[in-house]
Symmetry: C2
Subunit: 192 residues, 2 copies
Amino acid sequence: MYSEGMSTSERLIESTRELLWERGYVGTSPKAILERAGAGQGSMYHHFKGKPDLALAAIRRTAEEMRAVAAGVLDGPGTPYERIEAYLRRERDVLRGCPIGRLTMDPDVIDSAELRAPVDETLDWIRERIAGIVEEGKEQGQFAPSLDGEEIAAAVVATVQGGYVLARASGSAAAFDAGVRGLLSLLAPRPA
Amino acid sequence: MYSEGMSTSERLIESTRELLWERGYVGTSPKAILERAGAGQGSMYHHFKGKPDLALAAIRRTAEEMRAVAAGVLDGPGTPYERIEAYLRRERDVLRGCPIGRLTMDPDVIDSAELRAPVDETLDWIRERIAGIVEEGKEQGQFAPSLDGEEIAAAVVATVQGGYVLARASGSAAAFDAGVRGLLSLLAPRPA
């Protein structure tokens, strides 16, 4: 599955990232990771302390990537509204769901302070970033002064995360897109 | 765990409902169901065709309950805005997540047309009900005529489902409440 040049520990991390996204932590066995990585028994314990340690490396890498992608649109050009719109509308593999958000439904991730930390920090970072942009928009008169940046940011991130739920339930990205359009129609700057 | 008067098949269904909520379908073994139900080996196959059949009975019952609770607030008294507000603000065990929405992150549920159907139908029913209320609100002049009922409904349901994700990530219901307040501040009827 992976290029010849990739080290065993890299293959283990990448396989774990994929399996966590597809099946969650509870649904991912060490055996399935080794099979997908094409790695022999014992190699997980050679490179990592075990499944939680490997999962932590995988989750941290996925979290870093997600943050970088979000920063790419949120720190891009445009008005505050346009940057929030770009975040909501950026192309996503909607039916796969969010590789970070889906972990919150995993009891073993939520029960582990260590595994939950990168999930929490990533979603929190995105919320804080959006809250700042809403405040910018208020200063510029684009958003009503009565809006609360942190509350709007929570609604924006929740619409994305809940949009995945609606899309996966219906087997179609249309429900995700509808939710995004609905939120944007409410957030649209009002004429002065 | 259950009252003496409850039949074995009832205990199996109730145990499965709890385990699906806590651990998902992938994370719920027949053994765990039997243990929680206090039922003997073989009783699952006596009453049900197997884990998928029992899970279907459990999911259908949870879906019916969720629909009845949603109808209770959405069909209640008040203006269209107040009924949507009541739906968003109704008391929830936020940190447990949604027993229906969480199943969308379960690959074995999504891959089964039969298990996915009650999940899809329930979320769809709530969206349609809210879309109708938004249209009522437009007719009454409470909401802007430019709003699309189905899009607003998708944003409302997504905010709830995504709110669970934020709450579970942060280990606190505050993030759920913030998202709800954010959406309500955007949806608030405008003075004429």
